[in-house]
C-alpha cells in the first residue's frame, strides 16, 4: 500500500490528528457473540494488517454497565467515535461496546490516510459476517497531478481571511460543532450541487467572485471490494461572476470532484494557501452519502472552518450537516449558513439553463422580512416637523434671559441672540436675499458665525457654510457651484467675480432698517435649511441639501435619551463646514442650552481646550475619537476635573479599547459616552451606541441601532437584504434623509433611491456594514476609496483626480499609509505619480492650490510606472515605500487667520540650548533628523504630532508650547526665538 496516500488528502497541515480520523459504527442486535466477533476480526485483521507493523489491530470488547438507550451509553459511544487513531500501527481501532441490556455497538475508527469510508463499512460487514473477508484486500491508491489549467484557476481564486460574519471563540482550539438541516431537491449530483451551493453562499458572505472550496472526493476508479485510502483532495474555484450559469457550474464541479483536471494534494494546497496569503474557509466531504445501515462520522474535527457534508437520514432523506470550527464560527451563524446552503441547493436543483448565480436567493421571505425589520429601532419618533428658526424663537420666548451663546468674553442671551439675528436677517433681505436663496457663510468660529447662520434661516434663505481656512480655489468652487450671490465673510479677498456680494458681519450689525418680520410667511419645514459640501469621488465636492425638519427630527430623536435640556452647556468645536457642527450648534440652541464657541486656536490645543471645558462648565461634548484621545491625554496632566456628562463621538471609527483609562477617571454613571455613526446625507447621525467599560473591554465595533425615526438596511449589490452578520452596503431611511445633491440630478437619483420595502426615500451610503442579530450595526468603512483621516472624510480618488489634472502628471495613485490602529497620528496620504516633466514638489505645490490641507498628500513619490495587477488594476501591494515627506512652506498655517500675539515668558534657557532641545524633541516625535531651519510640517508634522511635541516638551521641563506658536513659527530656530520671548519670527 502506498505510504504517500496521506499527502493525496487535502487536509490542512495545521489540523490536529483528529481531522484525519473518521468513524463508522453499527448497532448489533441482542445476543451478538462478542467472542465470535473478536475471532472474526482477528482472522480478517491478519489479511488487512501489516507484517511490519508488529501488532495487528484487535477488537477491544468493553462492557458498558448501563442500558443502551441511556445518556451515559450515548456519551460512551460518542467518546469512542471521537477518539483519534494514529496513522502508524494499522491506522485503525475497533471497539465493541456491550451494553447491559443486550445490544452492542461495533465502532471502527480509521485514519484517512489508511482507510476510506467504504473500507470502514466493508470491514464492519466482514466482522459481522455480512460479507466474506476473502472478497477484500488492500489496494494501492494513486493520485493524478493537476493540469496547468486547474492550477491557474486555483491560483486566481479568492481566498478568505478572518471570518467577519460570525463570532468565533478564540479559546476554542479545534473544538468542532455540528448542525444539520434538511436538503430538498435533486437526488443526482448531490455533492457537486452542494459544493456549488456552498460556494455561492460563501461568495455572498465574503463578497467574492471566485470562491474556493476544499473537497475530499473518492477516486472514480476505486477497485470494488478493496480496502485502502481511495480519497483524494480537490480544490474547486467556482466562477460566480455570471460568466457561467448555475447549471454549468454544477456540471463543472461534478467533473472536478470526479478527478477531471487532477487532484490537489496537501503539499500543493499548502503552497497555494501560502501564495494567496489567505485560507480556504469552506469545504465539502462526499463520502457520507453512501453510508447506510450505520452511523458515519466523516471527521472528528472539521477539516475546514465550515465543512459541509451531505448525508442521508435513517429513512433515506437528504440532509446537510455542517461541521464547523468553533474558533471561527458560532452555532447560530453555522445554522444560518447551513440553511442558506440548503435554500440555494433547492434553487440549483430546479434551475433552468439560464439561471445565473447572482439570481439565486439566500434568504426566504421570512428571513428577508426579519432582516428588513432588524434595522428599525423599537421606539418610534414622536415629533412634529418644524423650522429650525421657529423652534429657536420658541426657546427664546420661553427663556429670554438664559444665556444662548458664549465666545471668549462675550455672551448673548436667547433674547439678545434672537434680536440680533432678526436684525441680521433684515439686513440680508435689504441686500436682496430672497426666500430660498443660498447664502454663503464663511466666518471664523465666533458669535457672528452662529448668529449669521440663524439670520440666514430667519431670512428664509439657505446657509452654505465654508471654512475660511480652505484654499481660495475651493472657496471659489463652492461659491460657483452653489450659485451664491451673497457671502457673509471677513475675507476681503474672498474669491469670485464682481457679481458676488461680500458682506462683513459688522455691516449686518450696523443695519438700522429694523428687524425682520418674525410673523411673515416662510417656506415649509420640508424646504432646505443648509447645504454642506462633502468630498466627492468625481473629484469635485458636492452640496448636500438638508431641510429644516431633519434637524428638528434629529433633536426629537435624541432629546429624551440624552436628557438634553436647558441646564446643558455645549461647545462648537468643529469647522462649520463639517456637518458634526450642525449637531453642535442646533443641539443646544433648539433645547434651551448654552453654546460655547471654541476659537480655532483653542480647538487646536488640547490643554487650552481642557481649560475652556473646565472654565465654562461644559456638560455636553462632541468629539472625533482622535481629538478626544488628545483631550484624554491633556486631562491626565491636569488637576481640574471636567463636569462633562455626555460625550458624543462622531466622524470616524472609535477604538473603544482606548477608553478604559477614561472610565477610570469618569465612570459611566457620571459621564455617558455615546458612539454615533452618521452621514452628512442623513443629517449628522444615524445610530447611537452607548459605550461602557464592557464595550471597551471587548473592543466592540458596534455603532448601535438606528435612532428613533431613522432606520437602516444592509443590502447586497442588487439591493437584497444580506443575512445577519454578513457585510453589505448600508442604506439609511427615515427622517434624516437629505433632499438632494445640489444641481446633480443624476447623482441624486443614484444615491437617494426608493425604499423597495416600505416606500419612501432612502440614502445609499457607500459605507460597508453589517447588522448583528440584536439590530446593532457594525460600521466597516467605505466600499470605495473614501477614507477618514483625523476625522476628515477624504475621497482618495478626488486627490488622484487633482493630481491627474496637473499637466506634468501622466499617471497617479493615492493610498493611505501608516497604521491607523497603531498610531492615528502616523496615518499618511501617500501619492505616487508618473511624471512627464518637473518634480514632485511642484506637483504638490499645485495640488495645494486646490486641496484643503487635510487632503494634501503627506508624501509624493515619483515612479517610472505604476505597478499593475494582471487585470490592469493598480497593485497597491507592489508600491514602494514612499519618499521622505515633502511639504510646502506655510501650507499648514493659513496666513489669513487672525492670530493673537505671542505671550510667553522670558526666563527660558538660552536660545541655542533650546534649539538643540527642541530639535531633539522633534526628532523623537517625527522620527527624522532635524536641523534648525527645518519646517515642522515639511517634515511630516501634523496636528496630532504637534500635540505630542507639546507633551514631550512638558515632560522634559521645556517651556509650554502654545499650539498657535508652532503653526506660526514652524521652524526650530523660529520657535526657540519666540519661546525665549523674542517675538514672532
Amino acid at each position: 500500500m502506498s505510504r504517500s496516500a496521506a499527502s493525496t488528502l487535502l487536509i490542512p497541515a495545521d489540523c490536529p490528528p483528529s481531522a484525519h480520523c473518521h468513524a463508522w459504527s453499527v448497532r448489533l442486535p441482542d445476543g451478538a457473540d462478542a467472542a465470535q466477533l473478536a475471532r472474526a476480526f482477528d482472522d480478517a485483521a491478519r489479511t488487512w494488517g501489516e507484517a511490519d507493523a508488529g501488532r495487528l489491530p484487535r477488537l477491544w470488547t468493553e462492557h458498558v454497565p448501563v442500558a443502551s438507550g441511556s445518556p451515559t451509553a450515548q456519551r460512551r459511544l460518542r467518546s469512542e467515535l471521537y477518539r483519534p487513531v494514529h496513522a502508524e500501527g494499522g491506522g485503525l481501532r475497533a471497539v465493541l461496546l456491550q451494553y447491559a441490556d443486550g445490544p452492542c455497538d461495533l465502532v471502527l475508527v480509521a485514519h484517512r490516510s489508511r482507510f476510506d469510508a467504504r473500507s470502514l463499512r466493508s470491514m464492519a460487514d466482514v466482522v459481522t459476517g455480512d460479507a466474506s473477508r476473502d472478497r477484500f484486500d488492500l489496494k494501492e491508491a494513486s493520485a493524478v497531478a493537476p493540469d496547468s489549467e486547474a492550477l491557474k484557476g486555483w491560483r486566481e481564486a479568492d481566498y478568505c481571511g478572518r471570518v467577519e460574519w460570525a463570532v468565533g471563540d478564540g479559546a476554542a482550539g479545534y473544538r468542532t460543532g455540528i448542525v444539520a438541516v434538511p436538503l430538498h431537491g435533486t437526488q443526482a449530483d448531490v455533492l457537486a450541487t452542494v459544493a456549488v451551493a456552498v460556494g455561492l453562499v460563501l461568495s455572498r458572505y465574503e463578497n467574492q467572485d471566485t470562491p474556493v472550496l476544499g473537497a475530499l472526493a473518492g477516486f472514480p476508479e476505486r477497485p470494488v471490494g478493496a480496502l485502502g485510502a481511495f480519497d483524494a483532495g480537490a480544490l474547486l474555484a467556482l466562477d460566480m461572476s455570471g460568466a457561467r450559469s448555475a447549471v454549468e457550474l454544477v456540471a463543472e464541479a461534478g467533473r472536478i470532484l470526479g478527478g477531471d483536471g487532477g487532484w490537489c494534494d496537501r503539499t500543493r494546497y499548502a503552497e497555494l494557501v501560502a501564495e494567496a496569503g489567505g485560507r480556504v474557509l469552506a469545504g465539502v466531504l462526499g463520502d457520507a452519502l453512501e453510508a447506510q445501515g450505520g452511523s458515519y462520522l466523516p471527521c472528528q474535527t472539521a477539516l475546514f472552518p465550515l465543512t459541509a457534508v451531505p448525508t442521508r437520514t435513517g429513512d433515506g432523506a437528504l440532509q446537510l450537516t455542517v461541521h464547523y470550527q468553533i474558533k471561527d464560527v458560532d452555532e447560530d451563524s453555522a445554522t444560518r449558513f447551513a440553511r442558506h446552503v440548503a435554500r440555494v441547493y433547492e434553487q440549483l436543483s430546479a434551475a433552468d439553463e439560464e439561471l445565473a448565480p447572482a439570481d439565486v436567493e439566500l434568504l426566504d421571505e421570512a428571513e428577508r422580512q426579519q432582516m428588513v425589520a432588524l434595522g428599525r429601532p423599537v421606539k418610534s419618533l414622536d415629533w412634529r416637523p418644524d423650522r429650525i428658526d421657529e423652534v429657536f424663537a420658541a426657546q427664546a420666548a420661553a427663556h429670554p434671559t438664559a444665556l444662548a451663546l458664549t465666545c471668549e468674553e462675550q455672551s448673548l442671551t436667547y433674547a439678545e441672540m434672537n434680536e440680533r439675528a432678526d436684525r441680521f436677517a433684515a439686513a440680508l433681505r435689504a441686500n436682496g436675499v430672497e426666500a430660498g436663496e443660498r447664502v454663503g457663510v464663511c466666518l471664523e468660529r465666533s458669535l457672528d458665525l452662529v448668529v449669521t447662520m440663524l439670520a440666514v434661516l430667519k431670512a428664509d434663505a439657505v446657509y452654505v457654510p465654508m471654512d475660511p481656512a480652505y484654499p481660495a480655489d475651493r472657496l471659489a468652487y463652492t461659491a460657483e457651484d452653489a450659485a451664491l450671490r451673497v457671502v457673509v465673510t471677513e475675507l476681503a479677498d474672498f474669491p469670485g467675480g464682481e457679481r458676488l456680494r461680500r458682506i462683513r458681519p459688522d455691516e449686518l450689525e450696523a443695519y438700522d432698517g429694523g428687524a425682520i418680520d418674525g410673523a411673515g410667511v416662510r417656506r415649509s419645514p420640508e424646504e432646505a435649511a443648509y447645504i454642506i459640501y462633502t468630498s466627492g469621488s468625481t473629484g469635485r465636492p458636492k452640496g448636500v441639501v438638508v431641510p429644516h425638519r431633519n434637524v428638528v427630527a434629529l433633536l426629537a430623536a435624541t432629546r429624551e435619551d440624552f436628557r438634553l435640556g436647558a441646564d446643558d452647556t455645549w461647545t462648537l468645536f468643529h469647522s462649520s463646514a463639517f456637518d458634526f457642527s450642525v449637531w453642535e450648534i442646533w443641539g443646544p440652541l433648539l433645547t434651551g442650552a448654552r453654546l460655547v464657541v471654541v476659537p480655532y486656536w483653542v480647538s487646536r490645543s488640547p490643554e487650552e481646550f481642557h481649560e475652556l471645558l473646565v472654565r465654562e462648565r461644559v456638560t455636553v461634548l462632541n468629539q472625533t475619537p482622535s481629538a478626544f484621545s488628545q483631550l484624554m491625554e491633556a486631562d491626565r496632566h491636569r488637576a481640574d476635573r471636567l463636569v462633562v456628562r455626555l460625550v458624543v463621538f462622531g466622524g470616524e471609527p472609535l477604538d473603544t479599547r482606548a477608553l478604559r483609562t477614561w472610565f477610570d477617571q469618569y465612570p459611566e454613571t457620571r459621564c455617558r459616552l455615546v458612539n454615533m455613526f452618521g452621514i452628512t446625507e442623513t443629517t449628522v447621525h444615524v445610530t447611537a451606541q452607548t459605550v461602557t467599560r464592557r464595550e471597551a473591554m471587548e473592543g466592540s465595533r458596534s455603532v448601535g441601532p438606528a435612532m428613533p425615526g431613522w432606520y437602516l438596511y444592509v443590502l447586497d449589490e442588487r439591493g437584497r437584504p444580506v443575512p445577519c452578520g454578513v457585510p453589505g452596503e448600508i442604506y439609511v431611511g427615515g427622517e434624516g434623509v437629505a433632499l438632494e445633491y445640489l444641481g446633480r440630478p443624476e447623482l441624486t437619483a443614484q444615491r437617494f433611491v426608493e425604499d423597495p420595502f416600505t416606500g419612501g426615500r432612502m440614502y445609499r451610503s457607500g459605507d460597508r456594514g453589517r447588522l448583528r442579530p440584536d439590530g446593532r450595526l457594525e460600521h466597516l468603512g467605505r466600499l470605495d476609496t473614501q477614507v477618514k483621516v483625523r476625522g476628515f472624510r477624504i475621497e482618495l480618488d478626488e486627490i488622484r483626480n487633482v493630481l491627474l489634472d496637473d499637466p506634468s502628471v501622466t499617471a497617479a495613485a493615492v493610498v493611505l499609509g501608516g497604521d491607523p490602529v497603531k498610531d492615528a497620528a502616523g496615518v499618511r496620504i501617500d501619492a505616487y505619480v508618473v511624471l512627464e516633466a518637473g518634480d514632485t514638489e511642484a506637483v504638490r505645490r499645485r495640488a495645494a492650490k486646490v486641496l484643503p490641507e487635510y487632503m494634501l498628500p503627506t508624501t509624493v513619490t515619483a515612479l517610472t510606472a505604476l505597478p499593475l495587477t494582471a487585470n490592469g488594476k493598480l497593485d497597491a501591494r507592489k508600491l514602494p515605500e514612499p519618499a521622505a515627506p515633502v511639504a510646502l512652506p506655510g501650507s499648514a498655517a493659513p496666513a489669513d487667520r487672525a492670530v493673537p500675539t505671542a505671550e510667553t515668558g522670558t526666563n527660558g534657557p538660552a536660545e541655542g540650548d533650546l534649539e538643540v532641545a527642541l530639535a531633539a524633541v522633534w526628532e523623537t516625535v517625527l522620527g527624522v533628523p532635524v536641523t534648525p531651519d527645518d519646517n515642522f510640517f515639511e517634515l511630516g508634522g501634523n496636528s496630532l504630532y504637534a500635540v505630542r511635541v507639546a507633551a514631550a516638551m512638558r515632560d522634559r521641563g521645556l517651556p509650554a508650547l502654545p499650539m498657535r506658536e508652532l503653526y506660526l513659527n514652524p521652524t526650530v530656530s523660529g520657535l526657540a526665538r519666540v519661546l525665549n520671548g523674542g517675538g514672532q519670527a
Binding site: W60, P65, T72, S79, R93
Partner: protein, 276 residues
Amino acid sequence: MTMRLSGKTAVITGAARGLGRASALAFAREGADLVLLDIAQDLSGVPYPLGSASQLEYTAQLCRELGVSVLARQTDVREMPEVETAVATAVERFGRIDVLVNNAGIAAPSGKAAHEIDEDEWQLMIDVDLSGAWRTIRAVGGLMAEQRSGSIVNVASTAGLVGYRHFAGYVAAKHGLVGLTKAAALDYAPRKVRVNALCPGSVRDDSQVEGRMLSEIARSLDVPVSEHEETFVQAQPMNALIEPDDIASAAVWLASDESRQVTGSVLTVDGGFTAR
C-alpha cells in the same frame, strides 16, 4: 455540560482501593478514560493486605457506570516490564496518555527506629514508594514529551515534607518522591509536561473506598486507631481528618488544564498540619 477531563486518558496506580479508587471515581466523573493499575495481590514483607483483583475490578466497574472507558490491569510497579506492557496496552487502546497519577505506595513495614530497619524492609519501601513512581514516569515520560502535553501527579505525603518518628523508610521514600517531582518537572517543562506532588495529611479510612492507611499506621505505632485518629485531629489545625475526596479533588485539578502553569509544585492537603 463540559467535563473537566473529557477527552483525556489517565493512568492511576494503586487504583484498587483507597485514594486510588477515590481518584479514579473523581476522574471518571470528570470524563477521563482510565487505565487502572494495581498489584492486586498481597506482598510478603508488607504486614497488611494490599488491594485485591476483586477490588480493582470493582473500581473499574464503578467508573464504567459513569460512562468512561476503563482498562484495568494487574501491574506491580516494582517490575519495569509489567509497567511497560501496561502502558503499551493503554496507548494501543487510547492512542495517548494525558495523566499519570502515581498513587501506589505502602506505609509499612514501619514502626521502628532507623537503625532497627533491616535491609529488605528498607529496600522494599524505597522500591515501591519511590522507585515505583520513577518506573511509571520512565514508561510515559517520553510519550508525554512527544505529545507535548501531560500531567503527572505524584501522591506523596506530609511525610515528604516533615519527619515522623519511627517512619524513617517511609519518610525517606516520600521525601525522595518530592525531590523526583521537582527534578522531573524541570526535565519536562520545555515539552509542556507538568509534574507535581500532592501531599495528603492523615486521611480517614473510608468504607466506600476501602482505605486502611490510618489503621495500618496506628497498628505500626502500636496505638489504638481511635487514639491515633484523635492525635491527628488535634495535630491538623482544621480539627478534622482529611477525606479521600479532598485528595481526589486536588488530583483532578492538577490533572486538568486549569492548573496548566503549575509544575514542580507541592500541594499539601493536610488541614494545615505542615503550616505550623
